[in-house]
Symmetry: C2
Subunit: 192 residues, 2 copies
Amino acid sequence: MENTLFDFIAKYIPLSEAEKSAVVALDIFRTFKKGAVLLKEGQYSSEGYFVLKGCVRIFYIVDGEEKTTGFYTEMEGITPNCVVSKQPSKYFISCIEDSIVTVSNLGMEVEIFEKFPKFEKLCRILSEQLLAKTQISFDEFKTSSPEQRYLNLLQNRPDLLQRVPQHQLASYLGITPQSLSRLRTRIMEKKI
Amino acid sequence: MENTLFDFIAKYIPLSEAEKSAVVALDIFRTFKKGAVLLKEGQYSSEGYFVLKGCVRIFYIVDGEEKTTGFYTEMEGITPNCVVSKQPSKYFISCIEDSIVTVSNLGMEVEIFEKFPKFEKLCRILSEQLLAKTQISFDEFKTSSPEQRYLNLLQNRPDLLQRVPQHQLASYLGITPQSLSRLRTRIMEKKI
DNA sequence: GCTTCTTCTTAACTTAAGTGAACGACTTTT
DNA sequence: AAAAGTCGTTCACTTAAGTTAAGAAGAAGC
């Protein structure tokens, strides 16, 4: 479990044994059952998450309707907006599958950044990379039709289509479940 | 000019005079005429930008058509995707107005991070905050219609509607110029 | 075992966005 | 001054997404 995390970190910066021990000492590994809620709308939180195994989603509730805006799977991290803005959360985070997730909080960050400034560099790099990825995704979303977006997803994250319910995928694509269903049959017919 | 930048930084971390001098020594302030191109598609670049005055846009050219995905005005920074990924740029960056922009490169970053680790913290904070903002914008985009997106823009960045041509705004909203024009008259008629 | 809920699909209808073409108002170029 | 290009708008037409409703299949709860 720890090693999965350290292998991931090793891709960005080397960690000494002392630094690894410091991480282990934080005792941040948690397991959650499918359906478990990590963060609720309205809640103040200073917790960040990193998915080691399983799948977690972010969703809003607008007019009683769930709007899913993000899925996070193996080796993806989440720093909820409310942690950065110090405002109550506008969304929920919950597990779609049984999951193993690291849960850290701001206090831990401050502490470990002081002891090992290297982690500040790690977080800068991860944050910059995620920002770049998010902006590209946003650009692709803006410049393509729902159908193209579905085809992109099929290309880039085919696993999601398997592990995520259709109606959650639909709002992730910015459309209704009915449109997604139609769009899928439309694509099928073209292929035949 | 320098002070505009330092006032901005002061909102996040305090800078000593030595640190300010180090920034000034980098000689990163540039002025550009309207229409000037900062980055071209296909180009490798390690330059980051920060807009002190004016307005800069990011746009793709897809099938000969410009697709504008971002506008950056006073006190907004850009680290182009290609700088992070070390790949040729997929998009252009150009000035919509006469602008004053800081232009830094990766070498400078490495250098100044070593001399003054405080800047690494600054970049982490800025990057985390921008990431949070970008994700919220993306969520709003996904969960609203073109008309709602236009109304949101009217609320959140009314200045853009003044300083940016309609057809660039349209692709920024993910629609055609014709749709934007229609949508605007639709809204007008509702108000009357 | 039965009910209830959730999920997905289908259908009919409404609404809005994409497309292609055209026009006038301006700007820029020559 | 004339020509060419840009920009915003409008129109007619096509295409697709939203909406409302209904039904089938499966999962979860009692």
